[in-house]
């Protein structure tokens, strides 16, 4: 199979050269992850993809996959500094820092190229790409996926049918209190509510608060406010309501008594093993309200409050073009090709039909994680809405998610990137105060009446006022320059 693909590739290449076409342009695409262990089939898939690209675009791609995001993050600054040949580069805020590389001039600006060479990408994501602006220019293409943030709740279906809950009437997190009481009384082996993150943090979308790029647990701006203003979260009355709610739930025994001692991973494991009843979250995917749970059965998700798009959800997965690339225009065309051709896109995401996945009668696919190629990360390769629906998922979800993204309010601060140079000390000090107080106070593990003032005083001492002043100054300057009101 491998050999056939390689031969076919050679034949196409020969034919094109005989027919007078130039030799295919070779592009280098750097991305993280890429195929499950033991990656035996990566080359087979890449060859198959290249065969199509060579035929239609006269391009072949050398996919470079140095490792999972952690390793990718360690390696990319070095590769870029070494001036290694690269054209397309995966970049984000969590692996291979986008803003840093873009402001250092490592990526090519795409503002004029996208409308001309990638009309579909431009049409689909024009509004969202505002968030990817660095110093006024766009340096990356967003692999569109769910971007809207919506506070939501999930719980297993067996509890819903047992107690006859109706989520349609949910308006605010406080509405679930009677349900928590029922779980506490009737399901002694379950923790009624997971506090993997504090209730208040999950409820930020519900409260209409978004971050400013640093310290999302401490600082925020309002999405729907008349002005662009940064504030300390614990000075916000509505935020404090959530803190007090969490405290009262803790006192009533709806939260784990020893919740403070669990790590994020442990919470995840407890959820996956079915030891918690309710869990909040801040990303809700329309069309995927009912999903299979790892411990068996189904998880039901219910949203409440508004949805909005914030900058961080966009710069979570971008593909940039290297400013050193000799084929910037071709690279953009390749992205457009992947964006508009499901055949190629699904090949790079799911592998080859019959070998790495099978198609079911209703047009869904059943991937085989052990077959040697399994990425399950469409968002790294581009337009996730092009992905074939997987068994158990809703084929309409892609369209619904697209619509939600378009419909959702866009945070005003999209495209604002903070310059930390003058406030590094304060950020470090506020971070250490946050590490000390945030989890116990905001979860309500300790009494807010007594400890909130302490937290506030410690933040003040750490220099939060200078921090707020500097961020506000930058926000004002940015808002003025970009005509944001």
């Amino acid at each position: 199979m491998k050999r056939i693909a390689a031969m076919a590739l050679t034949v196409t290449m020969l034919m094109t050269s005989v027919l007078g076409f130039s030799k295919p342009v070779e592009l280098v695409w750097y991305l993280p992850g890429g195929g499950t262990f033991p990656y035996t089939d990566s080359k087979v898939v890449y060859d198959a993809v290249n065969e199509i690209l060579a035929k239609n675009l006269n391009v072949v791609i050398d996919f470079k996959v140095p490792g999972a995001p952690g390793q990718y993050n360690d390696l990319m600054p070095l590769n870029m500094a070494a001036g290694e040949k690269m054209d397309l580069i995966f970049t984000s805020h969590w692996s291979n820092n986008y803003v840093k590389a873009a402001s250092n001039g490592l990526y090519a600006p795409l503002d004029t190229l996208l409308p001309k060479l990638a009309p579909t990408i431009w049409k689909d994501t024009k509004d969202m790409l505002t968030a990817a602006k660095v110093n006024g220019k766009i340096y990356g293409v967003w692999g569109q996926q769910i971007a809207a943030k919506t506070s939501n709740l999930n719980v297993r279906d067996t509890l819903i049918s047992k107690y006859g809950w109706d989520f349609a009437k949910l308006k605010s997190p406080a509405d679930i209190e009677p349900m928590l009481a029922q779980v506490k009384a009737g399901e002694p082996e379950l923790i009624p509510l997971s506090t993997r993150k504090p209730v208040a943090e999950w409820m930020l979308p519900y409260l209409g608060i978004t971050g400013v790029g640093i310290l999302p647990e401490v600082l925020g701006t309002r999405v729907d406010d008349g002005k662009v203003k940064v504030f300390s979260l614990i000075d916000d009355a509505k935020y404090l309501e959530m803190v007090n709610l969490s405290r009262s739930w803790y006192e009533k025994g709806y939260l784990a008594k020893d919740g403070f001692t669990y790590s994020n991973d442990q919470w995840g494991q407890m959820k996956n093993s079915g030891k918690v009843a309710f869990d909040f979250h801040n990303t809700w995917k329309p069309g995927e309200e009912v999903t299979p749970a790892p411990f068996g059965g189904m998880l039901v998700t219910a949203p409440f409050g508004q949805s909005f798009v914030e900058g961080l959800s966009i710069i979570a997965n971008l593909t940039a073009v290297s400013s050193r690339s000799k084929n910037i225009e071709t690279s953009v065309k390749v992205m457009e090709y992947f964006w508009t051709h499901p055949e190629v896109f699904n090949m790079i995401v799911w592998g080859l039909e019959g070998r790495h996945y099978t198609k079911t009668a209703d047009g869904k696919i059943q991937p085989d994680p052990k077959a040697g190629y399994f990425t399950n990360s469409a968002y790294i390769y581009g337009n996730t809405f092009l992905s074939y629906p997987v068994v158990g998922s809703n084929p309409a979800a892609a369209k619904m998610t697209y619509d939600l993204n378009q419909r959702a309010k866009k945070a005003k601060t999209m495209g604002f990137s903070l310059n930390l140079d003058s406030i590094k000390t304060q950020v470090a000090m506020v971070t250490s105060v946050k590490d000390q107080f945030y989890v116990p106070v905001v979860n309500g593990y300790i009494d807010p009446v007594e400890n909130l003032p302490k937290y506030r005083a410690a933040l003040k001492k750490a220099g939060i006022d200078e921090l707020l002043a500097e961020i506000q100054k930058q926000l004002d300057a940015w808002a003025k320059a970009n005509n944001v009101k």
């Binding site: 992850g33 140095p66 390793q71 995927e288 999903t291 790892p294 052990k370 399950n376 158990g392």
Partner: protein, 297 residues
């Protein structure tokens, strides 16, 4: 014959109790690791760890050993680079330290400072990377795994100070007997410095055996990946898969019975297992090596 009193027995029981307890602290975690590696993934998720597998499953080993060649190959790479790096490393470092330890070498002060200076100020990651990949062109070769540890400033200084403790009169008398510098180095200084050489060899070998960062930076070729890096990458890939399950949704059904926790432990067993069997046989040599010369006879 010493008569055993009740007190002696009590002391003995107590001591044995403490030692048995301590031994258990060492053995039980190993047993748990082995038990997890042989457990059913789903059972682990729901019921947690136990000392013996509740539901026996070899799924984790099947998964990892779908490509046993990769594992064996990684073992080969690590063993080869450890042996080559240790042998040549000790040789080159002792050769560097030998002249620098000699009071009759004129420039020893400057050169020792030059070596010492690199300990205080290193080139930093990016320049190092540039030199290795662009100047030396060592990426994707076996060399890059052990060539950089041929000389380590700290070990050279350690050897210099040890060589200095060898009386200079011995060198002088050898010279009078007509020995060349090479003979002095090879026949007198090296044999007298066995404990120091053994220590340095152990340090270098341990470092090479546990090396993954170098592989991560410079190795793209599958067949040149070292053991530690191979394992690290498998683990990171698994975490990435789990993360994607969170991000992409529908994952629970997708991933199915792909082993995670059990596979990690199976990997630990496969990586550490052979060493655990090999080490006791070599332990006495290690101990001897470190003791040589400590008792002057």
């Amino acid at each position: 014959m010493i008569e055993k009193t009740g007190k002696d027995v009590l002391v003995k029981v107590l001591m044995h109790g403490v030692l048995v307890g301590f031994a258990l602290f060492c053995i039980v975690p190993m047993l748990v690791v082995i038990s997890i590696s042989l457990s059913d993934e789903k059972d682990l998720l729901i019921n947690g760890y136990s000392l013996f597998p509740r539901i026996f499953s070899s799924g984790a080993y099947d998964y990892i050993l779908t490509s046993p060649n990769a594992l064996l190959n990684a073992y080969g790479v690590t063993i080869l680079s450890t042996i080559l790096g240790t042998v040549f490393g000790v040789l080159f470092m002792s050769m560097a330290a030998f002249p620098l330890s000699r009071p009759d070498f004129r420039y020893k002060g400057w050169i020792t400072f030059y070596v010492f200076f690199t300990m205080l100020f290193s080139g930093g990651l990016v320049p190092t990377y540039l030199v290795v990949t662009q100047v030396l062109q060592l990426q994707d070769t076996l060399w890059v795994l052990f060539l950089p540890v041929f000389i380590s400033a700290w070990n050279v200084i350690l050897l210099i100070s040890f060589f200095r403790s060898i009386p200079f009169e011995m060198v002088e008398s050898a010279k009078i007997d007509g020995a060349s510098e090479v003979t002095i180095y090879w026949k007198i200084v090296l044999p007298m410095s066995k404990p120091a050489l053994a220590t340095v060899a152990l340090l270098v070998a341990l470092r090479l055996w546990n090396e993954w960062f170098t592989s991560m930076l410079y190795i793209r070729e599958q067949s040149l990946v070292s053991l530690q890096f191979w394992m690290q990458r498998v683990m990171q890939n698994m975490q990435f898969l789990l993360m994607n399950q969170d991000v992409m949704g529908g994952g629970a059904a997708l991933l199915g019975d792909l082993p995670n926790e059990s596979a990690r432990m199976a990997m630990a067993v496969l990586a550490a297992g052979p060493m655990m069997f090999v080490f006791p046989f070599f332990q006495k040599y290690f101990a001897k090596g470190l003791m040589v010369g400590s008792v002057k006879g």
